[in-house]
């Protein structure tokens, strides 16, 4: 199973998003919230840029030796009494989770935030099997109530305003007093906490994601701000971690280095509120912890990225900084991207995972402004990789015919300077003549996509090269 994909309708999704006033209001919070905080916390740490280099190098090293570190990690997990389940596809991963849940007769599972869970559409699989999944991260809980995908990889409900959440809570929490005051965000939080507390205690299985898997110790690591992840993994009898292959890093020291750039890049915090390390199930004498500890490790197309132009994308530590700084993401929000991974990282990753035929718009819907790369804590060259996808699409004739013929036409002249001079001189002469009275066109044949929104400034008339030749004799 894979989450429903609407990426081929990116343009229609974008049109809807641009007309959605609620969304536009919510997105302006992203613009202000994340960017300034990241900049401030980065400026306070003199070694921030050096740490980014180091984070990049650690991930590169891990990816170059991925088989080795995954094997070493599995040995350590097993030695600590945990169990590792390898899943090639989303279906296999869901199947592995369901097998465990069925074996222990689980009726309710609590879930910490996990993008892999979204990628494999685990909630749908659980529900089909008659098991109730309960999201315990506040944002995930809200979008679960609404039946939506996350619109951001670390702030799943960032597309919503408090009033929308209030009406969802009133719709779903019908056991509570209809007259209660929910006008303050903290009241929403308190209500969600109250509802979730019972679920934590009654859950049979707790499922979390993993920010890192540590080869040296067989440990999985999660970072959260709400503490829900800890309750999810400690209270039920069974803890299932769902992770993907590229999450493995060699050592504890490596993780502590990467953690120093993760929260700073993500939320502008120096550290997340909770950073939790889990190694195996509860040992004799441990005061708490699950009886069983399982890790489902998903491939789902990632190993095919190794050794290709897209390998660098596997460095991603899911901080969200690229989308926080993306003008296109700000304009259309995460849902327009049509699958679980939005923004620049999604524009590179989604074509790898669901196919460029489906996700082809995403790497094209970028101005290549480069702000994503300039903030990525592991220095992923996102625009360059989006360009690689455009090259693949061009080679496979997936790019729109208008673009192909436009570039071919332009390229023909650009390769032939003499012809170019002749043709452009005539064309610009005509355009200047038509635009001479107003200075700009309100509409222009063949440029409707431009003039629908903006005027098109008229050329001054005469090309520079022709005028230069006339003035300076072609020196």
């Amino acid at each position: 199973m894979t989450a429903h994909v609407t990426s081929p309708q990116f343009k229609q999704n974008a049109t809807k998003a641009l007309a959605d006033d609620q969304l536009q209001k919510a997105m302006s919070n992203v613009r202000q919230g994340f960017i300034d905080k990241r900049a401030a916390v980065a400026a306070k740490l003199p070694e921030f840029e050096a740490l980014r280099d180091s984070a990049r190098d650690i991930k590169n090293h891990a990816l170059q030796n991925l088989d080795l570190y995954l094997e070493r990690w599995e040995e350590k997990v097993t030695a600590a009494g945990g169990q590792v389940h390898w899943a090639r596809t989303a279906d296999e991963a869901c199947g592995a989770v369901l097998d465990i849940c069925r074996r222990v007769g689980a009726k309710t599972v609590t879930k910490g935030k996990s993008m892999i869970s979204e990628e494999i559409a685990l909630n749908a699989a659980l529900e089909t099997a008659g098991i109730t999944p309960v999201e315990t991260d506040l944002g995930e809980y809200i979008i679960q109530l609404r039946g939506e995908l996350p619109s951001h990889i670390i702030a799943p409900a960032v597309h919503l305003n408090a009033t929308q959440v209030e009406s969802d809570f009133r719709r779903v929490h019908t056991h509570l007093d209809p007259q209660r005051d929910l006008s303050q965000p903290v009241q929403l939080l308190t209500e969600a906490r109250g509802v979730l507390r019972d679920k934590f205690l009654s859950a049979d299985v707790g499922i979390t994601g993993a920010n890192f898997l540590i080869a040296e110790t067989g440990t999985s690591v999660i970072v959260t701000n709400e503490g829900n992840g800890d309750l999810t993994q400690i209270l039920p009898r069974i803890h299932i971690v769902i992770a993907s292959i590229e999450k493995v890093v060699p050592t504890l020291e490596d993780v502590s280095q990467i953690l120093r750039v993760l929260a700073r890049s993500a939320t502008g915090q120096e550290m997340s509120v909770y950073t939790t390390f889990s190694t195996g199930p509860r040992r004799p004498g441990d005061p708490d912890g699950p009886e069983e500890y399982h890790v489902i490790v998903l491939d789902n197309g990632r190993s095919a990225m190794l050794g290709t132009a897209f390998q660098d994308m596997l460095r991603c530590i899911r901080c969200g900084a690229c989308m926080n700084h993306c003008p296109v993401y700000h304009a259309v929000g995460g849902h327009a991207y049509g699958w679980v991974y939005p923004g620049p990282m999604g524009a590179v990753l989604s074509p790898s995972l669901i196919g460029v035929d489906k996700a082809g718009h995403l790497p094209n819907a970028s101005t290549f402004c480069g702000r994503c790369e300039s903030v990525c804590p592991v220095r992923i060259p996102l625009p360059k990789m989006m360009r690689h996808w455009r090259e693949r699409e061009f080679e496979r004739h997936l790019s729109p015919a208008t673009v192909r013929s436009g570039i071919a036409f332009w390229g023909f002249f650009a390769k032939r300077p003499a012809l170019y001079r002749l043709a452009t001189r005539a064309a610009m002469g005509a355009l200047a003549w038509f635009g001479r009275r107003k200075g700009a066109f309100k509409s222009l044949p063949l440029a409707g996509c431009w003039t629908q929104y903006r005027d098109f400034p008229a050329p001054q008339g005469g090309t520079f090269q022709a005028q230069w030749k006339a003035k300076r004799g072609g020196r």
Binding site: T367, C449, D455
Partner: protein, 269 residues
């Protein structure tokens, strides 16, 4: 897109009167030749001998559309046409960035051309950074009465580190006050073919930009890239916002006789 570190060596090793090839850029060539003449004036005032080799386009539209073959063919032509000069200067961070940051990448698999591409990349500069960082220009002799705001175009800013150079030169323009707008480092939404392929999104982005321009109180908008300027001028004009839009070179050269971008030469007859 790593920021290319400025080569402080260049300032020391450069010839006294360097031969500079102007890469005028296709947009300036076709749409607004006056920017080219402003660039020539600034370069000549700084002591350069300026030449204009026969040229077309840097190939960026093809490169960014995924048409690597066409981009490579155009780049190979440009490399030939611009060989043998001390420097190549473009009144555009985007086109200079294409040559500096992406030509070497295009020819990475071809040792012979890669060497030439690297050599060209090292000699290529965006106009304002060339004037300040290579020619050591600290002031220009221009007078323009205006309150202006400056938009940092993306490629110049993030590929070439162009930020302080245009501001340093603008500070020396008599009569000019520079007032910074909010989010001056945020993309204007142009993005070359993006502006027509995703016109609606592009429009939303440029709308935020023109909002910031208007809120700054400036009545002149400057930038170093004509693509961005046409996009912003087109939106300002559509919104009926009376802001004079110009390339930074026009102001630095004191050549503001030509009407601003998108304004007719004479009133309608």
């Amino acid at each position: 897109m790593a920021t290319v570190l400025l080569d402080t060596q260049s300032a020391k090793t450069r010839p006294v009167r360097p031969r500079v090839a102007l890469f005028v850029t296709c947009l300036v060539d076709l749409m607004r030749p006056s920017i080219g003449f402003a660039a020539v004036k600034l370069l000549e005032d700084a002591g350069c001998v300026v030449e204009v080799p026969s040229q077309t386009c840097c190939g960026q539209p093809a490169f960014n559309s995924g048409d690597r073959a066409t981009a490579t063919a155009i780049a190979a032509r440009t490399i030939d046409a611009f060989a043998g000069y001390d420097y190549v200067v473009a009144p555009s961070g985007s086109c200079a960035g294409m040559i500096k940051a992406h030509y070497p990448e295009l020819f990475a698999g071809d040792p012979n051309l890669a060497r030439k591409a690297d050599a060209l990349a090292q000699r290529t500069w965006e106009l304002t950074s060339f004037l300040v960082d290579v020619m050591g220009v600290t002031a220009v002799a221009a007078k323009v009465e205006a309150t202006a705001t400056y938009h940092d175009s993306c490629s110049g800013l993030r590929e070439l580190g162009v930020k302080r150079q245009p501001r340093q030169l603008l500070a020396s323009v008599e009569g000019l006050t520079l007032t910074e707008m909010n989010e001056n480092e945020v993309c204007c939404g142009f993005g070359g073919t993006f502006s027509v392929k995703y016109g609606e999104i592009s429009d939303s982005i440029v709308g935020k930009k023109t909002g910031n321009v208007a809120a700054s109180g400036a009545h002149m908008l400057l930038a170093g890239d004509l693509g961005c300027l046409m996009n912003m001028a087109g939106k300002l004009s559509r919104e009926g916002k009376a802001v004079e839009v110009r390339h930074v070179a026009e102001v630095l050269a004191g050549m503001t006789d030509e009407p601003p971008i998108g304004v007719a030469r004479q009133p309608a007859a």
